[in-house]
Point group: C2
Chain length 311, copies 2
């Protein structure tokens, strides 16, 4: 391990992670309030409630954290950065709602609570997902996110490409297709699937921080490399947890991937090799931060945290 | 009726409508090709096929036509305008895919063909809708649509707001809620529901043409007024067709609205008064074009066409 990430204690990191999550929560609560924006005709109560149900009080807020901390590398912070972070989180939350639907992964629990379609109903869940996805682009397109329209367009374009058919949604399609066919995926196929399904959005989190902060091409590329390695480590860690985890710790059904013949690198490589790869990727993410010196300490910890998390 | 729309024969209008639909088809085919954009990792075959299934060979392309003709009012045309028109159409197509799902309107036929989830499966249909919605913002955010990033942001923001919880998706929520409750909606409630569910996207079509052409605030407001009245006329015409139509002409189940206790203005006002209101709104749309003089002839015909169409 390099020395830079050691300058931040685990405790200091957790404090920072939680503080960012609190800020994200506050901004999401504001964005998903009942006040209408210009051009909106109404915010139907049930739809707003379903959007809030899945967007608020949820998870570690890792993706927004990556965006916030990447922007902070260049001294950028404030409401605009928070708005962009919330747009990213809305896309993540939409994907969870849709992935949980009966036609997809058919999950009843998410973060220890009923999934959106269980708490509301399928139609409402579909619309809540659609609306969170749509709202993300509203937030990014709005001048309140950044004064420079070119920056906002770059944020929009990057998010659309990370989330769409060539990214997250495409990855979910590959995952479903693999499940349906029952075929064993090659390592390359698994890596592609994971880079799309979970990697693209995590990578975008790091890149979007560079975009909103106006970082130069070299620094942006460093953060892309960081985000890409972190994304891979994240997914392998997830697969390892799924293989060895217990239901109480995860707050959702476990060992379902194996049961459904989903391709994971744990399956392809075995648990030991998967752990080694996860740690190597986390280190690769840390190494990508070298250009930032000591300033990269928080993001370095984020990579280690991601790889070594217990849930 | 004013004189301006008479300068265009029905035949000339139809030719123009069909020509625009052909251009839109060509551009959609290009955008939904298999070539990857920078940042895309793969375009999974089945997902792309499902997106193409619902986006290509579909309908009159009224929304793109409104955008193209509104832009043409100010001399704007070309690939950028077509791209924006296709983005709008993608959002329309996504909404049809999701609205047809078993959890929503549960339709088996759309434009005389199996609905997306019938031709593919529910999971694929959900993802195809999600991906078309996402791709629309990719297209608008891309510099190929317009050189000025501020214009692109205005297009993104307008589309997101027309399509999201305060617009189309919210309208679908209100519609489902009304159906579930079985309550009779007031005229004001029906008008709000329709302004959101179908009106917002049609209104955006007219407004987006003004945005991409760089029209001034006054001209943009005129097109908003035009699009709003046209959108109302469109929905009442749809409800009238549903009340009196036959399955062969519509290519989908008819009279289902009445059967499901959906609120329509036909139900609230009666068929005769609904027809009169439809025609008055079409005229209102035509009148909103007064500032454009003879240049408004095509859009005026579009309003009359929308109100008087047979399917």
């Amino acid at each position: 391990m390099g020395g830079q990430e050691r300058s931040l204690t685990q405790e200091a990191f957790t404090t920072r992670l939680n503080a960012a999550a609190g800020e994200v929560e506050r901004m999401l609560d504001l964005l998903l309030g009942s006040a209408l924006l210009p051009g909106e005709l109404a915010r139907p109560e049930r739809l707003l409630a379903a959007m809030r149900y899945s967007a608020l009080d949820g998870g570690k807020r890792l993706r927004p954290f990556l965006l916030i901390e990447s922007a902070a590398l260049f001294g950028a912070a404030g409401e605009g950065v928070l708005r962009a972070a919330c747009a990213l989180e809305m896309v993540h939350c939409y994907s969870l709602i849709h992935d949980d639907l009966p036609a997809m992964d058919d999950d009843d629990l998410r973060r220890g609570r009923p999934t959106n379609h269980r708490a509301f109903d399928e139609a409402t869940a579909i619309l809540a997902g659609d609306s969170l996805l749509t709202y993300a682009f509203d937030v990014l397109g709005d001048a309140a996110t950044h004064a420079d329209a070119q920056v906002r367009c770059d944020l929009v374009l990057g998010l659309a490409r990370a989330a769409g058919l060539g990214g997250m949604a495409g990855g979910q399609m590959l995952d479903l297709a693999a499940e349906a066919s029952g075929a064993t995926l090659s390592r390359a196929q698994i890596e592609l699937l994971q880079a799309m399904k979970t990697g693209a959005l995590l990578r975008y989190g790091a890149e979007a921080g560079a975009i909103i902060a106006g970082a130069d091409a070299q620094d942006r590329a460093a953060l892309v490399a960081y985000g890409r390695a972190l994304g891979q480590a994240f997914q392998i860690a997830d697969d390892i947890l799924d293989a060895e985890g217990d239901e109480a710790a995860m707050g959702k059904r476990v060992a379902k991937d194996a049961g459904r013949n989903k391709g994971t690198l744990v399956g392809a490589l075995g648990l030991g090799a998967a752990r080694a790869l996860r740690d190597a990727l986390a280190q690769q993410a840390v190494d990508a931060l070298a250009p930032f010196g000591a300033r990269g300490a928080v993001l370095a910890q984020a990579a280690l945290f991601t790889a070594q998390r217990a849930h």
